[in-house]
Amino acid sequence: MEFARKVGAAVINALSYLGSLAALAGRAAFAAFIGPFLGRPVRFQSAVEQAMEAGVRALPILSLITFFIGLILALQSAYELKRFGALNYVASAVAISMSRELGPLITAIVVIGRSGSAFAAEIGTMKVSEEIDALETMAIDPVHFLVTPKFIAMVFMLPCLTIWANSMGILGGSLFGVLQADFTWTRYIHASLEALFLRDVVTGLIKSFMFGVTITAVGCLEGLSTGGGAEQVGRSTTRAVVVSIFLVILVDLVFTTLFFFLGAH
């Protein structure tokens, strides 16, 4: 009985958390895409700065990581494929698993580590130092002021980063392909492109868009719900990372399932 009550409470908590996330994302989306038509311009400059920070500055580390992931994928799939003498399928195996799954996912995880945590820390610090209160007393909506630019930056930058991550992964795979599987660079790239359907790339991009929404909502919500005291900022930041990773994988599962059944016929 006690156990059932605890489970029930946990489920209710989780649902209400998801509700707050959806509400926050909804408000940000409204301010980003509908607000400008109602005469409430978005802070475009701030969005560009956020896009630089979350997107462009993530490129070096993201490139390195996804290059390695591509290489690892090639090695792992080659291990199986070699037994069937199908080593020339390495290119398509890497290309498809990068674009459909690992490109968006690895990108999301890198962005969570760099930006999701930063959102929570930035907004949490502002909350603790009464800056959020100050915004409210100035009749400036904190969501519009702080969350919307981040939201815009993230939903645009994550798909862009994902495309970049896919390419770097394929490049990583090609290193193995050329050194171990008798590919030339051009043949490997050709084989990769041939293996890919537009659908593979698009499903990855849809996922990454949803990841962007999730990461922003979690980071900002954790920041906004920071309690009093500096130690709470650290806690919010940690929570933002853990919850974001969990929810990104959950969203991934939901969408992968969806695409599986949609693509079945």
Partner: protein, 288 residues
């Protein structure tokens, strides 16, 4: 229209109090902090809210600016019931309110000048060149000329506080709220803030509400004072009335008598051994 909606000034009916509290109760996590506060603040009046740490005076201020929702009772500002109006109407009132936070609450990612300019940029259609001059005027008023380009982190505590006052003044508000304006400032700077409050009242007929526990400053700037203790209004009156009050709690505050120890030995024993009713209630020192 993001600009100032109401062209005439004063924009609300001239008669009636500027701020009016009716039986306002505020609770945090089930614990009631304010137990039914009622008072009025007249237009152009300076009211000082006095009270010790944990008396609920900061919560009272946060309720007045709409950062806390009363669990019951009403807060009327400029003739409008603050908790019963639309978001847009509330924002229109907030544009006429300036609030100076205790720690400054300056935006760390912006320069001092950008901090002061922010409400003007967000809410008015003024030219950048005009805003620039306004920012310098405001910073000059608080004695921070030439600090526009500094980041808040480069300022001392007292300077942050003054920059926050400049930001609160940016929109030429009709009502100004100060949370502990002179706490932690050196006496000369604190006197400067007091003088500024007097000047603003004189020149702009601002309604000013100051939360403080600095008696000297309170006597200087207040038209009326209200003493809060444990979430209740203990006494309210003019400076003279408060100074001459015979109310024990007022006397204690005015004469700076320390809190007496718990009188009865049995009470003391009980206090020491009593089971705590609940854990995790917020510390009484800070109001959050």
């Amino acid at each position: 229209m993001p600009g100032i909606a109401d062209p005439t000034r004063p924009s609300v009916s001239l008669d009636g109090p500027m701020i009016s509290l009716r039986e306002v109760r505020v609770s945090y996590t089930g614990r009631e902090i304010l137990h039914g506060i009622t008072f009025d603040v007249q237009r152009g009046e300076t009211l000082v809210i006095l009270g010790g740490s944990g008396s609920g005076k900061s919560t009272l201020l946060r309720t007045l600016v709409g950062l806390e929702k009363p669990s019951s009772g009403e807060v009327w500002i400029a003739g409008k019931n603050f908790s019963a109006i639309s978001e847009t109407e509330r924002d229109d009132i907030r544009k006429k309110i300036g609030m100076s936070f205790q720690g400054g609450a300056l935006f760390g990612s912006m320069t001092v000048g950008e901090n002061v300019a922010l409400p003007l940029r967000e809410h008015t259609k003024l030219e950048e060149s005009t805003i620039d001059i306004m920012v310098r005027l405001k910073l000059d008023q608080v004695g921070l000329s030439g600090y526009e380009q500094y980041m808040p982190s480069q300022l001392s505590g007292g300077m942050k506080k003054r920059a926050a006052v400049a930001r609160a003044l940016a929109m030429d508000p009709e009502i100004l709220f100060f949370d502990e304006p002179s706490a932690g400032l050196d006496p000369i700077i604190a006197a400067g803030i007091d003088q500024l409050i007097l000047d603003l009242k004189q020149a702009f007929r601002m309604t000013i509400i100051v939360v403080t526990h600095e008696l000297a400053s309170a006597f200087l700037i207040a038209d009326r004072m209200v003493l809060i203790n444990k979430g209740d209004v203990v006494a309210m009156g003019t400076v003279k009335e408060m100074q001459n009050s015979t109310h024990p709690r007022v006397r204690q505050f005015m004469d700076r008598v320390p809190e007496p120890a718990v009188a009865q030995e049995l009470d003391y024993l009980q206090m020491l051994t009593e089971q705590q009713p609940r854990q995790g209630s917020p510390s009484p020192g800070k109001s959050r």
